[in-house]
């Protein structure tokens, strides 16, 4: 379902819970003039605050067992006991970390070396508000939620792919609004399917309108140029055949919105439209109550959909990076309603051919009370921007970290993806909120 602005404004957890589907956020396409090979980046945002401790679980930690009598992943045999998880190799701090029982496809990706896991990471700002946390993360400025551009927009602008003049289809969102990460993008568009990008017209007069528009927009103002590029994009998308065979999801992948969004992205990649950046929202993670009924389904859908999507794109692995993240993790101690409340440290998954997978990354702070954030939540030991900066640098070949994440002054990669480091440029550039784009004529 669409995550409308109205629901955002409600600010209550039911709105987030209602987001059980998932949606395509935004897609951004390459500037064909840009020949530097960059990865296609797909961000899957788990809206609502995913319980990282029940997803990638420190099963052998006694504090964990104590705080979670019911809502924890156990260390038994996952083949016979559905409350036990899949043991991961190369864990942090010699702890028996395990994927949730329903996340077996992720174990397979992990073992094949394509999936890396960063734990105890997230936002350095301590907010427990969904909206503030998402805002800070997506704007890429943890101290300022009034920044008028999203981090992905600034990435695109800084590599010259978001200048209002891209040929091909710039950016897309399945819902009515583009996500905050693409806020301020000139090129962010929305679509449920690639074929949606067309002139809606009368069956008999649509092609006449389109042909006439081509004549009307033959001129050399910015407006004329925009019209012609749009017509070209329509033609390109309409003329390319849909990929065959189509992706086939297994029955465990039940979240239709997530499936459809990832299918659209996969199609656009295979149609060779020069996709650069795509974001997908998958909601339903605000599990304040009845977590045992909701969470396993969520995880199962995520794991199977992601694996199917990834395998479908096997020919593109060398230039595909998928990041799964959420606005925060959840409270260590489960609550009285069979759920967990808003917490802090979370987990990020990084998937792709250039990922040094099969390993966990980060610093495990432990779950003893003294180590917890505010005494109650998993601490954040890795800033989410550290992970994204490394991907920007090594996979997206963009060293302008200061533009993408204004205020950062260090580059400390975890070494979780392959690639070359350039000299980081911490110049803040246009990170501010003044929005007076230039008119090119």
């Amino acid at each position: 379902m669409n995550f409308s602005r109205r629901e955002f404004a409600v600010g209550c957890s039911t709105a987030i819970a209602a987001l059980a589907g998932g949606r395509l956020g935004g897609l951004v396409f390459a500037n064909p003039a840009d020949t530097t090979p960059r990865d296609i980046l797909v961000i899957v945002f788990l809206r609502g605050g995913c319980d990282s401790l029940n997803f990638v679980a420190p099963t052998s930690d006694q504090h964990y067992a104590d705080a979670r009598p019911d809502l924890r992943v156990k260390d038994g045999d996952p083949n016979t006991d559905t409350s036990s998880g899949w043991q991961m190799g190369n864990p942090l701090a010699q702890i028996d970390f395990r994927f949730h029982n329903k996340a077996k496809p992720l174990l397979e990706l992990y073992q094949s070396g394509d999936l890396a896991v960063v734990h105890a990471c997230g936002l350095t700002n301590g907010t427990r508000s969904h909206f503030d946390a998402m805002d800070y993360i997506e704007r890429g400025t943890p101290t300022n939620k009034n920044t008028s551009t999203g981090w992905l927009t600034r990435h695109l602008v800084s590599i010259g792919a978001d200048n209002g003049s891209a040929t091909g289809l710039p950016a897309v969102a399945a819902a009515s609004n583009v996500p905050t990460a693409l806020l301020g993008s000139f090129e962010a568009a929305s679509m449920a399917r690639p074929t949606d990008f067309k002139l809606n017209s009368h069956w008999k007069y649509g092609s006449d309108q389109r042909e006439a528009l081509r004549k009307f927009y033959s001129g050399d103002t910015a407006l004329h140029g925009a019209g012609l590029r749009t017509l070209d994009t329509i033609d390109q998308l309409q003329s390319r055949p849909a990929p065959d065979p189509d992706v086939t999801y297994p029955p465990e992948a039940r979240a239709n919105g997530l499936k459809d969004s990832l299918r659209t992205i996969a199609h656009l990649i295979k149609m060779d439209m020069g996709l650069q950046v795509a974001t997908v929202d998958y909601g339903g993670w605000d599990t304040h109550e009845g977590q045992t009924y909701v969470f396993p389904n969520q995880i199962e859908s995520l794991a199977y959909t992601l694996q199917t999507f990834y395998n479908y794109l096997s020919a593109y692995h060398s230039r595909l990076t998928v990041v799964v993240m959420s606005e925060f993790g959840r409270r260590l101690k489960e609550n009285e309603s069979g759920g967990t409340d808003h917490g802090h440290g979370g987990v990020m998954l990084v998937l792709g051919g250039g990922v040094k997978g099969g390993r966990m990354y980060g610093n495990w702070p432990g779950l003893a009370q003294a180590s917890l954030d505010n005494g109650v939540d998993l601490a954040v030991t890795t800033d989410y921007r550290t992970v994204l900066s490394e991907i920007l640098m090594r996979r997206l070949r963009n060293p302008k970290l200061g533009q993408v994440f204004p205020g950062t002054s260090t580059y400390t990669p975890l070494n979780l993806v392959e690639g070359t480091d350039q000299t980081p440029d911490f110049t803040a550039g246009f990170g501010g909120k003044v929005f007076v784009p230039l008119v090119t004529r």
Binding site: N146, L199, Q209, P437, V439, R441
Partner: protein, 586 residues
Amino acid sequence: MPVSRRRFLKASGAVSAATATVTLAQTQGALAADPAFTAQQIAELAPAAAPDLPQIAIVALNRMGYGPRPGDIATFNALGSTPSARLTAYVNQQLSPVDSQDSTCNTKLQNVKLRISYTKNGSPFTEDRTLTSLNKTLAQLWALRSDPAYEERVRPVYEVRLATWLRAVYSKWQLREVMVEFWHNHFNVNAFADQKISATWPLYDKLMRQHWGGNFRTLLEGVAQSIAMQFYLDNASNKTGGPNENYARELFELHTLGSENYFNALYDNWRDVPGATAGQPIGYIDEDVYEAARAFTGWTIADGSWNGSANFPNTGQFTLYANWHDRFQKRVLATELQHDQTPLQDGQKVLNLLAYHPGTARHLCTKLCQRLVADVPPQALIDRAVQAWTANQTKPDQIKQTLKVILLSPEFAESWGQKVKRPFELFAAFLRATQVDFPPGGLFVDDNLSGTVERTGYRLFSWPTPIGHPDTATPWLSSNVMLLRWNILNDMLGRNFWRIPDANPAPFNLRGQIPVSATTSRQIVDFWVNRLLGRTLASNLMSELYDFMSQGSGPDVPPIGDTADLTDRINYLVTLICMTPDFQWR
């Protein structure tokens, strides 16, 4: 030799890539500093291919309003014998709106209904309700917050939205509507950011309507004390000991001086800001923001919350709460604020310093010229506007006096194609030019109109950040927005867009508006082109339209097809004309 803007930007290293988001002032500064270009070249900076200048009526009706309704051009032209006499008369009229003369709009506002549906006491509840919240008192609106239905709590925003559309489409006082939109964007608040804001939204709208042409200093204080701004930028919880600088920051950066007057990167001591030691710093630095935040401690809204010793009354009234006020001395813009002033004295002092600052005059006048004339407005015009703004800064009609200078300038009359209609303007212009019964049958089943337009990025009263909608063309010209500019016009032709049952008449009866004397394809096209654009197009483009209309039967005979087919074709002819660049400029 005139240099194209694109070449300028390419050549100017200071503006890396024509893609960067930079301020106008930064751009100008960068260009001026670039030895590759002379002052004369900068002065000659002009669009490479501006469309031809249309008659003054088209310029005025599109830039001081949301485009002509049928008959507007003739009415305008009857105002005087020369273009300048007509413009002068029209500007004078528009600067003195008389509500009682706006009967069509008033009737619409009174009678239009907007459906509300929700579950009430366990059963479905639906009502086709008039816009009852627009004139409610603070007490009545404040009470809405405790309504159990979310739909009732946010209803006022939806009502103001529809009233805004109706006024744009029907009000005779178009300049006022354009200026109300301007001020809403200048003092942007996301109406959905907090339900205290949603419930009382008509009051914030009224503030803009009351002061659209009035005094800036008065408007600034009205905004500072409004429920909407107090909660949107958190000043309601700004108290000594832990001041919240959110409001103060935007007050400097957006509402008054603008970021072009922010010198923090250059100066780390207030004395270093040029002019500071003489008490007239040319700009501000972070310390000014921090100190101003302290000055506004204790400016809050009585919302029933705990204030440290008791609960505030739960009235929604603006309140000065001395216990939260930082009593010590402050320094803002190189001016000392004495210790132990009241919260009102401190806050008003800051507002005075900002409202009367020359940097504010320039920031505001640049934005006004950008709204009314061109994305990159001529410097000479800005200079004259600044003079009027400053000379009238304590007058009750300061803004109108400034508008008069801008609107009666040669730069206003002689520029065209330097602005592209934003989506709201485009669709309002379409509804005006086509004379559609808006909303069809007098009922909005829902606010699909605003909801659909939101997909273009134009979010009426819900732009998420304090800066408001961009007022230059580029963000509104991405392929996605271009496609929506076209598609929404076609979509509006259908019943589905307006949620009208299939049995009802179609929302648009465009064929019925063609005079009986227009029978051939050429005559039909000529009629619509003139109606929608107020002028004709190049002959090759007219031929395209004749071909569209005649479908191969030749322009000088009646178009082929039965009535249903002709109805469709004329509808899509009209949307096609509105899709052309000529309808999209302003």
